[in-house]
């Protein structure tokens, strides 16, 4: 994945999390809906945050095929 798309995921998931939380506080959406939305977007936020910090642009390793 490209750095930019990770940045986009990070921003979108963070915004979704915070708006859902705020909307639930204001009573615009029911609390369970906010919880469901946060449950989905929070993992995306955590992982994309870590990837944003340090993701390699290189390919993965290759399996070790003996001596």
């Amino acid at each position: 994945m490209k750095k930019t798309s990770i940045k986009a995921i990070l921003a979108i998931s963070a915004i979704i999390c915070i708006t859902a939380g705020l909307f639930a506080l204001e009573g615009i959406i029911p609390e369970w809906l906010a919880a469901a939305v946060i449950v989905v977007s929070f993992p995306a936020f955590v992982i994309s945050l870590g990837m944003y910090w340090k993701e390699s642009d290189k390919e993965g390793d290759y399996p070790f095929v003996g001596y």
Partner: protein, 281 residues
Amino acid sequence: MILLYILFAVFAGLLFHGIHRKVIARIQTRPGPPIWQEILHVLKFSFKQTWIPKTASKILFMAIVAAVIAIWSGALYILISGGSLLIIFGVYLLHKITEHGLGLSSGSPYGKFGAIRSVISAASEIPLIASIAIIYLITGSLMISDITAYQASNGILLITAFPVAIAMYIIVLSKVPYSPFGIIEAKEIVSGNKTEHFGVWRAGLEVGFSIKTFVLLATFITLFIGAMPFWMLVLASLILLLTMSFVCAVTPMLSPYDAVTIQIAVIIIVIIYAGYLGVMG
């Protein structure tokens, strides 16, 4: 609000893990790491270079990390909103699936052994769900809010349903780090099913596991002692964790066979208790 709870649970859970390590070290007369070590760990892992091993099944490898965080965040919400106990223990069993997938997804033999061991323990933990049925028999409800209400009027379940409390204690104990039942990450199989998840993936897993520890401890407290203010809940969870740290410090890690045997013995106790309850009406 739920977002704040999740963020709090992440940090509290990581801190709990750190305290857990510290207490174990002190009991074993070692200095031990500082208690915020696990938080540093997560930060360290998330700053490391990350990729996906070439042998791994890519999508599964990534999705399983998200799944761990998602299911436990959901369980936290259920616990706080006083939802059904059945859901939390459903999540507990779904966690088995994620552990299993975690190990299988990389193609590494060590991860695979960890995955297989996670299913071995599932075979013995499944019947512990019987203890939930006993709680239903006693309180007439599986809603956490109803169970706490029952305890407020009829005395705490820790005393009135002691065998069930033991069974639940062992359920929770088998999920804390360095547990005698933690056969899935025994050192003879490197790090078990977490072996191939490094960098960001490991950081994500640690976040999920910290929420898990917090939720399981808090569930036990709510279930057997009753409702209390949030700060007291955290404190009581910490005390519960300290008892577990003591157990973890003085017991060696069991072999898979012994772990399953002990869990089955506990199940038999619970089933006898269920029979006793059935006879007494």
